[in-house]
Subunit: 90 residues, 10 copies
């Protein structure tokens, strides 16, 4: 499982609309309206890095209302899967 | 449920150790080793904002190996919990 | 009570008008014309974080004259008004 | 009444202690633990600009735990508390 | 006496014209064409902070040719009034 | 007459002392304690550019308490005090 | 052999098209879609520095979809040409 | 094949030594001494993202002489070397 | 002899044309196409600072194709060409 | 002839000494004490790019007093000294 985190600056009059359109993109697992210089933070999870690239380039960045982006790639995920703090992630 | 995202710069010789220590903090749901100027991205989820503040100030920032931090607060979470397509997001 | 602080860059010919329109938004408690790279600083206080998000996204950022924003969230407020040590502020 | 807003980067292991020491400085009306690159935001209100300068230079910046600062001066305050239009804030 | 220093980015084809128009604003005591990322530096001196705010917001930022601004407020002036190096300023 | 403007970051515990030592340097005409990321702004006026360089390099930057500096050179001064157009400033 | 690395910000709706057009420029050896604030990273290898300049200025920067660029020049290449880890590069 | 690009700031007295030590790390395919704010640019190619993370965190960042890093991940590589369209590069 | 160095961002489709037009300005001694965030670096040498200001403001910044500028002033030139120690440069 | 321009931040108490030591490095053609965030600007001219790299890495950055550097490479020099169009510069 590959994960990317995208910080977005959106048209200031369309933050909510843009968030909702992004949420409909498959592979987008979470959308947050955040503090700071950006408006939204999007978490994308895909089976492969190629799919991540496709989702960002061909879907996310083409959503109306998106003005600028800064992308972070998760080289490794240390997610704690609840319960007995099972390690061994993705 | 309140969510904060913390970007951390760590001692470059202790990235993995620092990540593992952070993962043991209750309320820390995910730790990623990320691309960019920071080394780690930590997602914290708590019942209240007060608890978020406590986790960041009294636990996260005191972990050995942490050098600098930039915090984002999620004013709103658009997690995809609805309908059929519902993906199991913590 | 949740608090957010928003730094705004406004249309340089409409700083005063923009400030006055922002002041009419309920939940906006203070508007300052400030030094630095931004023109205005707005303090928003609401009962819940959800309301803060609504006020920023659906009211503040849609005010005519607002060009860019940077938001800070107050995880904790140490306001002096409480208890015995209360000092007479403003 | 003159107002200054100071953003502080503090020793990451002493955020709470530093905030509490700052809160004891007369003229400091509010201290927030905030999101972003800084740790604390301090609001100072004095009768004169001279006093503001004295409070920042001779008290605030000398508090143990303060590492770096960025100061904003409020040229004008549009606080809602006055006159008829008064809205019930905090 | 209150002092503010404003760094301005101007339309690159109108630096001189913009400087001359700014110079006609009462309370503007000096205008410099400077090195760095900005084009002009303006020093404003007024009896009160309120007047400073008015001069910046209602006169300076409305001058044609001004594109962007960064303002600094002088909390204290240590001006040396020549002669016997008399201290005791404003 | 050549003019340079120097923004200084000083040891946060010695802002006033540093300002006073700087004020004693001949050719330093004004020292301000300012808002923003810097602590002091110094205006230097000399007969020649060579003297400006000497004052900055051999006097100003060697004052105890100075930590970092950013220098601006005034290519041209539009000061109002001269000639006929003289407006009554400060 | 001279090498330059160019980071590009492209029209967010045309990242893939722009990458493909750039790939057709002779001397462009690699194009990556990258994380961070830029969208693409381009590696150019030419016999001479003059040719590098020509490729960047007359071909790369004129490709439709390119919005902004930041260029790095490789003063020295330590490429490892596989095999017996042969050093001695170009 | 996964690719990461790492920009490094090194101890200014050990740029060459640091570059040579980095070149000995398996999976490091190229090391450049570059213009700009960084000293070295390192290209890492591995079979999997996990290995990339391991190489950066457990080898590269632990090399003596490395002071700071900024990492970019290549979501997609458009390298020309393959198949038919192959153009004669370097 | 006064010297100024100007870094220019130009219209990315007109770098060469812009450079050639700038080269025709008297007092411009060198124009370089450079790496980094800017496109051109221009060195201006004049008898007086006033002339430098005139060349930048009335000639250089008005050249078509120039989009943004950052100027550095040389307070002192340590050029090797003089006296005995003269080394054979360029 | 290859040209590099290096901006240096030096120990603020040793600007002149550092400049003079740098001036003694062969291939360094000019050293300027400059305005802005840096203290010195050094121009290096060599027959080859390899020599440039050697001068920067093995001589310039090892000079005592140098704290930080930012390097620009001149891909092309439009110096006026050549051929017919020669204008009388400095």
């Amino acid at each position: 499982m590959a994960t990317a985190i995208v910080l977005l600056k959106t048209d200031r009059r369309k933050v909510t609309d843009t968030a909702e359109r992004i949420l409909e993109i498959p592979s987008v697992s979470e959308v947050y309206s955040i503090s700071g210089r950006h408006d939204l933070m999007v978490i994308i999870k895909c089976e492969t890095v190629d799919m991540i690239e496709y989702v960002i380039t061909d879907a996310l960045l083409k959503v109306e209302g998106v003005l600028d982006s800064e992308t972070m790639f998760a080289f490794r995920s240390y997610e704690k899967r609840e319960a007995g703090r099972a390690v061994d992630v993705d």
